[in-house]
Each structure stands twice: as C-alpha cells, then as structure tokens.
C-alpha cells in the first residue's frame, strides 16, 4: 500500500517527465521538418544577403545547441519567442485567438457531453427497446461521418440555400452597435459551427455512456442491491450513476486534446479566427516558435487535465486509494 503522498509525488513526477519529453520533442520535431522559413521565401528580388538578414531576424543563424538552450529558457517562462510569420509574441497570438476557440469549443463540448450522457443513460435504462436501438444507431451514424463533410453540407444548406445562418466569420460586417446586439450577433455566428460539432460529437458519448451504465448495472454490487429490494429509480441514480461518474469524468478530461483536432477543421470550414487554424498555419508555414508554443500549451493543458482527472476520481470514488488507477 503506497501512501497518498507518495502516490501524488509519483504522479506529479510523471507529469513533469511527460512535459519535459514533449518539450524536447517539440524543438527537434519542427527542426527536423524539411526546409525552413527562410528557404521558402520565394522571391527573386530577395538576394542571398537579404535572406541571411532574414535568418538573423529569426535567430536561425546560431548553432542548434544555442537555439535549443534559448528555447528551453524561454519556454520555461512561457515566452515562446516571436512568431516568424507575424513577428509578434507567440503567446499574444495564441491568447488573442483563444477566446474565439473557447467560444466555439466550450459550448460545443458541453452540449455534446450533456446530450450524449442523457441519451446514453436513456438507452441504458430502456434496454432492448426501440429507444435504445434509436440512440445506438444515431450515435454510430453521428460518429461515422467525416466532420468536414457534414459541416460543408450544413453550411451549404443553412447559410446558402436557406440563409438562416451567416456564411463566415464570427461577426457581422459592420458589427452591430451595443452590447446585446453584439452578443446576439456572436451567438448567431457560432450557432452553425457549434451545432455541427454537437451533431458530430454526441454519438461517441452516447455509446460510451450506455456501455458504461450497462456494464455497471450487471456488476455484483448492483445485483446485490437489487436483491435487497432497492427501487429501480434509487438503484440507478443512487448506485449505478454514482459508479459510472468517475470513469465519465476521466474520459471527459482525457478527450480534451482530441477536441483540438475538431477545432482545426471547424475553424477552417467556417473561416473562424482561432487557435486551431493558427496551429495549422504555423505547421504548414514552418513557423517553429508558433507551432512549438501552441503544441506546448496544448500538452500542458492535457497533462493538467490528466492530473485533475486523477484527483477527481480519487475524490469521487472512495474505493480507489492506491496508485493502480494512475495508469489503467
């Protein structure tokens, strides 16, 4: 039996380890990529000397080891340097885009989790009925479609053929005056991207929740509880749901990084100015500081949510007190 303190020390050590590995990998991954931002400046009016000046500007003239040390020192203080493309601090670039991405992802994610959980529970409680069948099918279908395909079709249908929603961006041009009209305008612009993400995302959740609940309902302690004559309603909410909550919370936090992929595609289709699109542009444009910074931040968020997940699970599930949970 490992003490709680030892367990948390080990967990934290592991998290630091992960961050360190990602930090190093980040640096070399981008420098291993063919070409560099200077060599892809294709303009015959740029002489070799002008290009050399550009290398100085980007700090690429220094030895790799020096670049690496500078990188480590800066990253530790969240200074990711200047983006090659914009010559502005990477952190500024990311933070200025973050509100847009959060405004897209937070409602989309919460709504799809909510819808997925409700439908999953519904399916689990209506075993063998049409409702379960319907939820399972809807879940599988929503999970099976390529996201950009669905989003393009929705955009064509609801922004062009039936112009209920706007075609692009996060703001009307010119923007309406006043706080409320502006807020309504924002919501109107986000409706289609968020709606499409919910449509695409709820299925996976519904299936997972249904499976978890079904599994728990068959556990020995549930059978025992049922034998004791506890009512179905109390049985479910008092026992089953409490038992599936910890793994649900874990899953919820663990699937956060995956959501970023959704942001890349969604922001591309709906012309939104967010972190996902920034990441795509930086990777494609070999903007090492920008891509590295964005990657690093995402990793930190993931590692942090892993830790939080562990903590919450410990908190909500008194059965687990040893380190076993940490890696299963």
């Amino acid at each position: 039996m490992i003490s709680m303190r030892g367990y948390w020390a080990r967990r934290l050590g592991g998290a630091v380890c992960v961050v360190a590995i990602v930090l190093v990998a980040n640096f070399f991954l981008f420098r291993l990529m063919p070409g560099d931002p200077v060599s892809t400046v294709l303009d015959p009016r740029f002489s070799p000397q002008a290009k050399a000046e550009l290398e100085v500007l980007y700090g690429l003239d220094r030895p790799l080891a020096v670049q690496f040390l500078i990188y480590l020192e800066r990253t530790a203080t969240f200074d990711f340097g200047l983006s090659f493309a914009t010559q502005r601090p990477v952190l500024d670039e990311i933070l200025s885009r973050l509100p847009n991405t959060l405004a897209l992802l937070v409602p989309a994610y919460l709504l799809s989790v909510l819808l997925g959980t409700v439908l999953g529970v519904l399916a689990a409680r209506r075993r063998g009925r049409a409702a379960e069948k319907a939820v399972l099918s809807a879940g599988a279908i929503s999970f099976s479609f390529p996201s950009f395909f669905v989003q393009m079709v929705l955009l064509l249908l609801f922004a062009y053929v039936y112009p209920v929603f706007p075609l692009r961006g996060s703001l009307s041009i010119p923007p309406p005056q006043g706080t409320w009209p502006l807020l309504v305008d924002r919501v109107w612009h986000l409706a289609l991207p968020v709606g499409s993400l919910v449509l695409l995302g709820f299925g996976g959740w519904a299936l997972t929740v249904r499976n978890l609940v079904v599994k728990v309902m068959g556990e020995d302690f549930m059978v025992l509880a049922r034998a004791k004559g506890i009512g179905e309603r109390r049985l479910f909410w008092g026992h089953a749901f409490r038992a599936v909550l910890p793994p649900l919370v874990t899953l919820f936090l663990l699937s956060l990084p995956g959501v970023v992929s959704g942001a890349v595609l969604t922001e591309t289709v709906f012309s939104l100015h967010g972190v996902g699109r920034f990441l795509l542009d930086s990777v494609l444009g070999q903007d090492y500081p920008a891509a590295g910074g964005a990657f690093y931040l995402l990793t930190l968020i993931t590692v942090a949510s892993n830790l939080v997940a562990d903590f919450l699970v410990q908190f909500t599930d008194p059965r687990i007190r040893t380190g076993e949970r940490s890696s299963s």
């Binding site: 990998a25 599988a140 970023v260 890696s327």
Partner: protein, 397 residues
C-alpha cells in the same frame, strides 16, 4: 456471433466491389471518359450524350441534336485539297440556319486542324463567353446541325472528326477531370480499407506487445511503457499527424505507419489491465512455478485471454483511422496519386463541387466513408458483446 450480421454482409459486398469488381472493368480509372462534372446518366436526360463522327468531303455531316448545348467539343484531323484553295472554310450550320466558321483553311493544300472548345482562341473567334463553358452559341436549340468543308477546290481526302465528350456518364457521373466517379469510388474502397485495417493492425501489434509486456513484467518496463503512453496521449493527434506527414512524406505506407504509431495507446492500456489480473490467475502462477518461459506464457495463454476484446478493439479502431485519413486528405496532406475516399472528397471540395452542386462527386465518397465506419462500428459492437455478454442490448442498429 449468433447470426451473420447485416454489417458483415455489407463488408463482404464492399470487399467484392473494391477488390474483385475492378478486375472485370477495362481501362484505367484515371483516364477521362466524358466532360468534367458530367452528371450521372440516370439524371441527366437533357444533357448531351457522347458523340463522335467524321466529316466526309462534299455534303459533310448532318446530325440531329435534341439536348442541351454540350460543354465540350473538339475537331481534329487533316484535310487534303486537290489544289491550293483560294477560299476554304470549315463551317457549322446551326439549327436556326445560321452558319458559323469554325476554321479558315484557305491557302494550304493540306490543312491540319486541332480545335478544342476549351481553347480561349476558339471561344474568342466564335464570340463565345470566355467564362462559360456552355456552347449555347454553337447549338442554340434543337434541330439539325451540319458540319462541312466549304472550299473552291474539291476536297481530296478528309480525316476530320468531331468529338463531343458528353455531359452525362455512368452511375455516378464524372469529376473535375472527366474521370468516372464510379471507378474512382471502387478504387477508393480498396485504399480506405487498406489504410484503415493496416493502420489498426500496426497499432494493435504495438499495443498488444506493450500491454502484455508492461502488465506482465511490471517494474521499470511497465513504468517506461506507461510514460510513453502518457506522452503520446498528451499530444493532439491531428496536428502531430500534419507534422509527420510533412516530415516523412505522404505515401500510403507512411500514412499507415503514422496512424498506427499514434493510436495504440488505448489498446495498450486495456491489454495491460487485463494482463494484470491474468498474471495473478492461479493457473498462470502455476505455469510460472514450473518454470515456463515468459514468452510462452504470454503467447500461449496471455494472447488468447485478451483476444476477444482485442478483436473488438480492432473493429472499433478502424473508423477512427479512416476518418483521420479523410481529415488529412481534406487538409491536403495525403498522396495526390493515391485515390482514397478522403482524397476524392478533398478534390471535389477544392475544385468547387460544393458550390457547383455536384452532389454526385460528394455523396459517394462521403456516404462511403460513413458506411464503412458504420459497418466497422457495428462489427466492433458485436465482437464486444461476444467478449462481454453483459453489453448485449437492443441488438444491432
């Protein structure tokens, strides 16, 4: 499995269409067969059919036209006159009786022609809009059209031929290059299936080995493997796939490897936790006691224990990989020479199929991907229920 599911049947049909059916179809699916964006034949009754004829000397060739004006037309071949003509023209008589000059052949004893309606010069010479492909100006309604060589010297020999590629084709029409979408669709089955299944196999082999090893051996090996899992799980998938696709190239096998390398973590965790309990089973302890080698125990007894769940994992992993491939292709990060459904969607989108309303280019690959994923999800669920009968529920979809 109690009964053969519909999804298994569908998969068999897809396998047959992807691997066997193309053997019976002649020609390369990459070759153009009709005009770009030609509609499927069964909806395009008013669209021009494919047509080819030669223009003989004398009266030329007359043909009846009862469709919309086509979007493509080419005239090529040689005309030999009996002498040098002072005036010679290739004329086109519209149904309305108006006569247009397609080409002036005066002054040459032998004239070689290679005209195509896509050439800006051709469109400009006939006063057609440079922006609109439709040859309304040449056809302008229904009736008889006559093409002839009109010269002051007799025509000795003519190998001139007129070709209209046609604006309707086959089951699914054509794409932006005039390629048969049905053929591409069939070719895409193969690639999407191969990528999906191979990548999942790669990830399963890695995940199985890592899980068994970590769970059974424990200690430092386990800690290292699980740290690796943590690291990989902390990296957002799509961005890293984008980087690696740029780093290693975009070939099919690179893609399979990349997708495989980044999707084994779940399997490893599942297998590991199963191995942990398997390790403590009395018969395994007995095996250890009599000195059975670790490899033997794992291969002979470990793998069969986790197999049912592993199969389910494989089936459930395929949709993820197929969708990842499609997303990479959509972002332009896949091999342009390999026809996959993701690639078809990407090309359709980048050549304007959405705005053109060319649904025949979008629905086959889009629904194809969805169907394939759906089939694998259903198979996976069936396997999962087989491995863990408690999950058995309202049955398949």
């Amino acid at each position: 499995m109690r009964r053969f599911r519909w999804s298994a049947w569908t998969l068999l049909i897809l396998l047959f269409s992807g691997f066997v059916l193309p053997l019976f179809l002649a020609g390369d699916p990459r070759e153009p067969v009709a005009s770009p964006f030609a509609r499927p034949a069964w909806v395009g009754r008013n669209q021009a059919p494919a047509l080819a004829f030669s223009v003989p000397p004398g009266e030329g060739k007359a043909f009846a036209w009862s469709w919309d004006a086509p979007r493509g037309l080419s005239v090529s071949g040689e005309v030999e006159f009996a002498g040098v003509p002072g005036s010679a023209r290739l004329t086109w008589e519209k149904p309305s009786g108006e006569i247009l000059v397609l080409a002036d052949l005066s002054g040459q004893e032998t004239a070689t022609l290679d005209l195509d309606a896509r050439d800006m010069a051709f469109r400009a010479a006939l006063g057609l809009s440079p922006f609109d492909e439709s040859l309304e100006g040449l056809f302008g309604g229904r009736g008889t059209i006559r093409v002839r060589i009109d010269s002051d010297v007799p025509v000795e020999k003519s190998s001139l031929s007129v070709r209209i590629p046609g604006d309707r084709w086959g089951l699914f029409g054509t794409d932006q290059r005039g390629r048969d979408v049905f053929r591409l669709f069939l070719a895409g089955i193969r690639v999407s299936l191969l990528v999906g299944v191979m990548a999942v196999l790669v990830s399963t082999v890695i995940g199985l080995s890592a899980g068994l090893l970590g769970g059974y051996v424990g200690g430092v090996v386990d800690a290292l493997l699980m740290r690796a899992v943590d690291v990989l799980l902390s990296i957002p998938l799509l961005p890293i796939l984008m980087v690696l696709a740029a780093l290693w190239g975009k070939g099919l096998w690179q893609l399979v490897l990349i997708l495989g390398l980044f999707s084994w973590m779940g399997t490893a965790r599942t297998v590991r936790s199963m191995t942990l309990s398997f390790r403590e089973a009395p018969y395994v302890e007995a095996l250890r006691a009599i000195g059975a080698p670790t490899f033997y125990i794992l291969a002979r007894h470990g793998v069969p224990t986790v197999l049912p769940l592993l199969l389910a994992n494989i089936a459930l992993g395929v949709p993820g990989v197929i969708l990842s491939e499609a997303a990479l292709a959509y972002l332009g990060l896949s091999d342009p020479r390999v026809i996959s459904w993701g690639r078809m969607l990407h090309e359709a989108q980048s050549f304007g199929a959405f705005t053109t309303g060319a649904w025949w280019l979008l629905l086959p690959p889009g629904l194809g991907i969805a169907l394939l994923c759906f089939v694998f999800m259903d198979l996976g669920r069936a396997l999962e229920e087989w491995a863990d009968p408690r999950l058995k529920g309202g049955g398949g979809a």
